[in-house]
Structure formats: C-alpha cells, structure tokens
Chain length 158, copies 2
Amino acid sequence: MTYLSPVSKKSSDHPRSGCPVSISLDIFGDRWSLLIVRDLMVRGFRRFKDFQQSGEGIATNILADRLRKLEESGILATAPDPGDARRRLYRLTTKGIDLAPALLEILVWGATHEQTGAPCEVISQMAKNREAVLAEVRRRWQNDDPTPILPWLGGPPK
Amino acid sequence: MTYLSPVSKKSSDHPRSGCPVSISLDIFGDRWSLLIVRDLMVRGFRRFKDFQQSGEGIATNILADRLRKLEESGILATAPDPGDARRRLYRLTTKGIDLAPALLEILVWGATHEQTGAPCEVISQMAKNREAVLAEVRRRWQNDDPTPILPWLGGPPK
DNA sequence: ACTTTTTACTTGCAAATCACAAGTAAAATG
DNA sequence: CATTTTACTTGTGATTTGCAAGTAAAAAGT
C-alpha cells in the first residue's frame, strides 16, 4: 500500500512566470479583492458589515476569505475595535494604499469605456488631476480619515 | 408538472454597483485576462500559440474562452492571418491599449512589493518615466510594431 | 439577570468554473 | 498524399463560487 501525500492544489502551486503583473494578479486578480481595497481606500469602510452592504453583493464566506487573503499578503491589517469587542477593524497597510494608482487607472478606464454610474465630469476631473487625487487619498489614509472621497472633486478645495 | 425556465447564472447576472471599478473587474477581474493584454501590449504576441507558450501555464480552453470574452468586450479584435489561413491574429483595440496605464501601475506595484523576476533598476526607470513608457507602448501599437518593449528601458534611446 | 440583537464569521450544498489530458478539423508542409 | 501545425473543442474530476442557514461572542434592551 502506497501513501500518496495529498497533493495540495492551492493557487500558489501553479507555475507562473516571474513577471510582476503575473504575481500581482495571483494576489488580487479576482472579482472582489480590489473592490474591498477600493472601499477601504475611498469609502472609508472599516468593518466586515460595511463591505457586506457595499452594494456589490459579495457573499459572506467569500468576503471572509478575501479579507484573510488580503491580510496574508500584507495589503490590509486587522485589529479588534477598542470600543466594541465584537468588531474587527480593517485598515490598509502601506502596501495596500500603494494600490491607489492602479485602482485610479482602472477607474478611469472603466468610466471611459463602459456605461457606468459615474458622472463624466467627475471622472475627467480625476483623470486630469491624478496626482492631486492620489495625494488626497494618501493624506486621508495617513490621518485615518474615513470620510468618503467622492464629494472631493477634481482638486483640493480652496 | 411545472416547468421552470433554466435560470442562467452567467457572471453578467450578478447584481453590481455602477462603480467603474466594479464594471472593469467584471470584464478583466480574473487571473488571465490582463496577462493576455500584457502579452499583446508589450511582448508583441499575436497568435494563439504565443499566449499558450507564454510561460504562465494557461490551459487552452481557458485561453480560448478569455480571448473570446476579451473580443466580446471590445478589448481585442481578431482577423485571419493573410499569410496562413490556419492562424488567427489577435490585436488590441483602442479600448485595449487604453489599459496600458492600469497595467503599468499593476506592474510597478508588483515589482515594488513582491519578489519578482524584474530587475529593480528597470522598474524604477519605468516608474520614473511613466509617460514616456506609455507613449512608446502606444507608438508600437499604432505602428503594429511587435518588437517586445523590454529592451527599451527607462527613456527613449537617443 | 436574562432575553434579544448585532457582529463576524463558518458550514453545507448545488452550481459554475477551472486544470489537465485528449481529441478534432482545417490548412500548410514535406 | 501522409505528416505536421494551428486553433481550437470535448470530457472529466477538482476547485471555487454563490446562496442560505447556522453559530459563538459580545452588546444592548428590559
């Protein structure tokens, strides 16, 4: 009788090229991961329930799985809520906030080429002021400012 | 006996928010689509077999499926090879080449935060010269120039 | 104190998607 | 005209997903 070790078929087993794009997609190349990052980044979401009710219709088992994988890959970190021990708070790490440029370009592409719910005016302002938008996203992250960024359009208010 | 129409569960059926990021991820939010776009964009791949042998290990049924979906969503277009009727040639559309900024940011993120096979020097040059790199990618696309872009580093040669 | 509610999950299951191997049709090559 | 090449398709089992339901711990209500 032979024993065959249970050949685990985790996604990390697949042979991949060393290309950074390939490695990145191994981490967040799915339908949900970047939506969670987006919600953390620009909507100020911090709790499990926020993501669950984000309007994207993610199932709770998938959400829990993605939060765990994003934490494992160092994109976000969790901590218990000091004010309510039932809750866990999710925050982007530096590695996570560094996804802002990629997310912004994906946003601009989608708004440019697909019918989306985003007002064209807002998008073209964001596309024109990429650096300012990214600076504001980073500022909010550093200050732990959960205010959604959407009212902030196309340049710092004077 | 009641007949229930077979409720098709295509991914397009899922309820989604109108966010451009969400709609974009519905189109290319998987492990393979952006790798195909990358190969068309910077490696000059044109044929089925090129993608198959790209080193990422994509199965032929998945490759065929992704090429079809990318064509359906207008990111690439196919035509028979004028010189060999067995072949079909795949090319990016304008919509496809417009993914270049997103792809570049994903590349920079991956190279910055993960152990990849990309030399750091090359990546930092690309990150510093984003606009020049993107201009060169677009130039090659317009000229139908399939030369891989990798030897071209960090700025136009003088 | 105790019942109810909230929160962040886990579990079970059917359906969809995936990876892998093999097969096929059409066209080119020898 | 037999062989090879190309771009796929098909079959099969494994993995992942979507959906509904359940659960444990903590908070809130009475």
